[in-house]
């Protein structure tokens, strides 16, 4: 069930991102809803879900944007995996740590993406730090709000408690 939910969430995020991008036109959209979804999946379901969800989402973004297939997939899957890993190692039940987690995952994703494209000589990034920071902030804000909304759903708090107990017993992946 979590697999279907994750796939549906990624597809919905792709559509929303595309519609938002069309709405704002050429202006840079300072949020990547797809990455926010991947990190959320990683936090909810663990690092394997983050890895596979990131891979799927990144590949779909690559295909739909006409970029090199795999660069977005690699960067998003790595971000998803590490976000899921961080979610099991640190307490991220408060907004502050979550904000930092989304911020870090977004910055990592952008750094890998830009690094690989620059390394292969396919794109030029002149002074990318402002864009990178803006995108990371946008993602972190949307991520925190999204997670706040998710936690309002019944059953989610119980899952978090179960997960915390598993972590304490050292059985959580």
């Amino acid at each position: 069930m979590s697999v279907i939910r994750s796939i549906v969430a990624i597809v919905v995020a792709l559509i929303l991102q595309s519609l938002l991008a069309k709405a704002v036109g050429v202006a840079r959209l300072p949020v990547d809803l797809v990455l926010v979804t991947v990190v959320s999946i990683a936090l909810l379901y663990g690092r394997v879900a983050g890895l596979l969800g990131g891979s799927l989402a990144g590949l779909a973004q690559d295909a739909m944007s006409g970029g090199v297939m795999g660069i977005g997939g690699l960067s998003a899957s790595l971000s998803g995996f590490l976000a899921g890993f961080a979610g099991t190692q640190f307490i991220v039940t408060q907004s502050g740590p979550r904000f930092m987690l989304f911020l870090g995952a977004s910055a990592l994703r952008s750094a890998i993406f830009m690094g690989l494209y620059s390394l292969l000589g396919l794109r030029r990034f002149d002074q990318p730090f402002f864009d990178l920071a803006l995108l990371a902030l946008g993602n972190a804000c949307v991520g925190v709000v999204l997670f706040w909304a998710i936690e309002r759903r019944p059953g989610v708090s119980a899952r978090w408690r179960t997960r915390g107990e598993r972590r304490r017993k050292g059985r959580y992946r």
Binding site: Q17, A60, A63, S110, R173
Partner: protein, 289 residues
């Protein structure tokens, strides 16, 4: 000490996914024409979802715009916009033909540019990744659209097709970081390469040290890159920094209101071939922006 079985499996999976992506990237880095099967399949699948989402969204707004808010006015407006856009395309084509006639055929004895065969398409989505400036249109190879075909509107250059599937295509907008086109300054005939900055503006690069470029100069395609035909307006020079020869250009196309585009299917079709003449879109979409 042996690792727990779960941890080991996760590690194997992680390595497999990473290696898979690296292999996938490596298959595409070497220049090779065409589109991968995976890319085409994903674009096709997502395009169908896009189409449904776009239709659903469009239906809601159509009810509001067409019947509730602006009953009657919208239809008139659409007709006028279409007429105006068609006339703009015609003027643009005629201007290109005039330049060719005056500067190439009259002086060098070359043949005049022949009309372009074009097809219309609606923009149904934007870029799925914030790093790219791209758009999705609702027609693909079924309408004769293929990779690297130039895309324009009534006002000027939009970009080119980078992925074409059966019923949809992805456009790389000219303002994307990796987009480029051979360009010419219309006033001084200086040639260069127009490139996207990724922030909505363009820059004119590869100019000679003595190039004559001024603020307000109009930039159009020069046709030497083999993708974009000559004479399509790209933008207007906004700023010239003499120190580093940095020329910033503002695109003439308003990408925030991009609804319908024209794809140049054949830029060298002779008039007697019987296709649509310059400035006329092939069936498939109204001309508006």
């Amino acid at each position: 000490m042996a690792l727990p079985d779960t941890t080991r499996r996760v590690r194997y999976l992680f390595v497999a996914v990473m290696v898979g992506h690296i292999l996938l990237i490596s298959t595409q880095v070497s220049p090779r024409p065409g589109v991968t099967l995976l890319q085409a399949s994903l674009v096709t699948a997502m395009a169908e979802i896009h189409r449904l989402a776009s239709v659903a969204w469009g239906s809601v707004w159509n009810v509001w715009d067409g019947y509730v808010a602006l009953r009657g006015v919208r239809a008139d407006n659409q007709r006028l916009v279409q007429e105006m856009a068609a006339l703009r395309v015609q003027v643009q084509q005629e201007r290109a033909a005039f330049q060719t006639t005056e500067q190439l055929r009259a002086l060098l004895g070359l043949r005049a540019n022949v009309p372009w065969k074009m097809g219309g398409a609606d923009v149904i989505g934007g870029g799925a990744s914030p790093e790219f400036r791209s758009a999705v249109i609702n027609r693909g190879t079924d309408a004769g659209f293929n990779r690297d075909m130039p895309v324009i509107t009534a006002t000027g250059l939009v970009g080119r097709i980078v992925v074409a599937s059966a019923h949809a295509a992805t456009l790389q907008l000219i303002v994307d970081r990796s987009a480029a086109a051979a360009a010419i300054v219309e006033r001084s005939r200086v040639q260069g390469v127009i490139m996207g900055n990724g922030d909505g503006t363009l820059r004119l690069d590869y100019l000679s040290a003595t190039a004559d470029v001024q603020r307000g100069d109009r930039i159009s395609t020069s046709g030497v890159d083999g993708i974009y035909p000559k004479g399509i307006v790209v933008g207007v020079v906004e700023r010239v920094e003499k120190s580093g020869r940095v020329v910033t250009v503002v695109p003439v196309v308003d990408f925030s209101s991009l609804e319908t585009v024209l794809v140049i299917v054949d830029a060298s079709m002779p008039p007697e071939a019987g296709g649509p003449a310059a400035g006329q879109a092939a069936p498939g979409g109204p001309v508006k922006q």
